[in-house]
């Protein structure tokens, strides 16, 4: 947590250099190189998993050659995530597409089957692509991991959002606390695109 705040306190150029050297995510760094060898799992049903032999999606397939808005949250089926964070993107999908965004992605440390159930419940599957970082390796690589054992969730992700253009992070917002929802919503990122 302290490292995230310290990073943002430095100027963005210095932060980009430090970020690039450490391999963590920050404005200017490449999200795919920051998490080498990491892949995500698209939300799916078990049958779809079997049919695709439980395949995973490498980050470069998600980010290369595309303008992507990606947001991460602590957990499917939890309060702020369900009631504020996902709806914010679902309700602004037209505005995001109008600004040239190719995909809007929601990622969480959940398995892809739970995420599919949740996406359907929120009726957000058409607007947003849901991906599972089931073992937390994506978020760990980006230094976005947080221990939420006190809330009985275990190792999860901070609440964050980013605008990534062809793999390069152009905007990056992380809430000070996962229960907050101030900088990681769609309205903020719309201004940053």
């Amino acid at each position: 947590m302290a490292s995230v705040l310290a990073r943002r306190a430095r100027g963005s150029a210095a932060a980009a250099l430090w970020g690039a050297a450490r391999g963590f995510a920050s404005v200017g760094s490449d999200i795919v190189s920051a998490a080498p060898g990491v892949s995500l799992q698209k939300a799916r049903s078990w049958d779809e998993g079997v049919a695709t032999k439980f395949s995973t999606t490498p980050l470069k397939d998600i980010f290369h050659g595309k303008k992507v808005v990606i947001f991460g949250l602590p957990g499917a089926y939890t309060g702020v995530c369900s009631q504020a964070h996902v709806p914010s993107y679902k309700n602004n999908i037209d505005k995001l597409k109008a600004k040239g965004i190719d995909s809007v992605i929601c990622v969480a440390v959940n398995d892809p089957y739970v995420l599919k159930g949740w996406a359907e419940k929120l009726q957000a599957k058409d607007a947003i692509e849901f991906y599972g970082d089931f073992d937390g390796s994506f978020h760990k690589s980006l230094d976005l991991e947080i221990d939420l054992s006190a809330a009985l969730l275990g190792r999860r992700s901070h609440r964050w959002s980013a605008f990534v253009d062809n793999g390069k992070i152009k905007a990056f917002n992380v809430e000070k606390a996962p229960s907050e929802f101030k900088v990681s919503g769609a309205e903020v990122i719309l201004d940053q695109i």
Partner: protein
């Protein structure tokens, strides 16, 4: 840890649970099972097909018969967080008796020796499919599946044993 078997004592452990008043609690297995006849059944994952469509419904529909035969508690555990378990429980509005308990990081499942690595299927370390009957913490029936099958771990097998 060797898998739990008949004659063993049920270990204690803390599981997460949203109670009837929607309050998030940590409950101890011993507090639910000491001095009582309980069924403890486990599944690999909430929102997956065999678990959702066969294993859990079996215990929900047979709950009254099981209670009539002296079972005090029917406890379902899965390596999922309590929010996911609560959402999954809500998909069974007809459920009156089965308690959906969350073994968030798998600690209790490991204490039972019943963990199963499903990393390849995108699930991480989960639980084997099983059903136990315990009488005042002593395990009297232990039906543990190999792999993800559903052959001996259902409600009917426990009913036969009661």
């Amino acid at each position: 840890m060797a898998p739990i078997s008949v004659g063993d004592s049920l270990p204690d452990g803390q599981l997460g649970w949203f109670d009837e008043n929607d309050q998030l609690q940590q409950v101890s297995i011993h507090s639910l099972a000491a001095g009582k006849k309980v069924i403890l059944f486990g599944v690999p994952g909430a929102f997956t097909p065999t678990c959702s469509n066969q294993h859990v419904p079996g215990f929900i529909t047979q709950a009254e018969q099981l209670k009539a035969k002296g079972v005090d508690e029917i406890l379902l555990i899965s390596v999922n967080d309590p929010f996911v378990m609560k959402a999954w429980a809500k998909t069974y509005p007809e459920n009156k008796h089965v308690k959906f308990l969350a073994d968030g990081v798998g600690t209790y499942t490991k204490a039972l020796g019943l963990e199963l690595d499903l990393t390849e299927k995108g699930l991480g370390v989960r639980s084997r499919r099983f059903a136990l009957l315990a009488d005042n913490l002593k395990v009297t029936v232990a039906n543990i599946e190999e792999g993800g099958q559903f052959t001996i771990s259902g409600a009917e097998e426990i009913l036969k044993a009661l």
